[in-house]
């Protein structure tokens, strides 16, 4: 399954909910304000580490750059462009947006 999160980890509990409920495997895509979860020094680092052990973790490049956080991206997180976003949606059987 493709899991999409678009809220900052310090603003909403979407990442937590996803980690609590989601089955291992599949991909976690962070977009919009959720990209902050994949930046160094964020208080959600432990959750991100857990996510990396259970899913492939991706961030949308345009959202990361818009927020000036490309220089803070955590190692092992894959950046994808809009085409890559579409590919991920196509590659997975289903998709859950943790709004």
């Amino acid at each position: 399954m493709l899991h999409i999160i678009n809220k900052s980890p310090q603003e909403r509990n979407s990442l937590e909910s996803c980690l609590r409920v989601a089955q291992d495997g599949g991909t976690l895509l962070l977009i919009e304000d959720a990209v902050y979860a994949a930046t160094r020094g964020n208080a959600a680092a432990a959750k991100l580490r857990e996510a990396q052990s259970r899913f492939k973790v991706c961030v949308l490049q345009a959202d990361l750059e818009a927020r000036g956080m490309a220089d803070h991206l955590i190692d092992g997180v894959t950046t994808v462009d809009y085409g890559g976003f579409v590919d991920l949606a196509a590659q997975h059987k289903n998709c859950q947006s943790w709004l």
Partner: protein, 122 residues
């Protein structure tokens, strides 16, 4: 009303592009500058992200309004306060910010808020 100067503080708690709050706050701040009041801006929680250096919004086709924070000085808005704990919880330091600010501890920020006549929340 003339001659009465009140202390206005804009409290910014949201990241810049996920919602409209940050931009709306900035516009109200610029307008408020015309009223010759004692205006300050506070950045706490995800609001500190508004001041992050290096924002490049071409990819999301949204206006990059971060350079406008550097114009505030020319509007005589010189008091920008950032909460230390909020920076730390996001892996940021003062060097990551695109404008000169005063970094306050959580306690100092609370005291600063207490001194205001009007708090505007964004």
């Amino acid at each position: 009303m003339e001659g009465i100067v009140k202390k206005f503080m804009f409290i910014n708690r949201k990241a810049p592009y996920g919602t409209i709050y940050a931009l709306e706050s900035l516009e109200v701040v610029l307008i408020s500058a015309a009223f010759d009041q004692d205006v300050s801006l506070a950045f706490v929680d995800d609001g500190v992200y508004q001041l992050k250096k290096g924002q490049q919004t071409k990819g999301i086709e949204t206006k990059n309004f971060s350079p406008t924070y550097r114009a505030l000085d020319g509007y005589d808005i010189e008091k920008l306060y950032v909460e230390q704990e909020s920076l730390e919880a996001r892996g940021l330091t003062e060097e990551d910010l695109l404008v000169d600010v005063t970094v306050l501890s959580r306690k100092e920020m609370g005291e600063m808020m207490e001194q205001q006549d009007v708090l505007l929340s964004f």
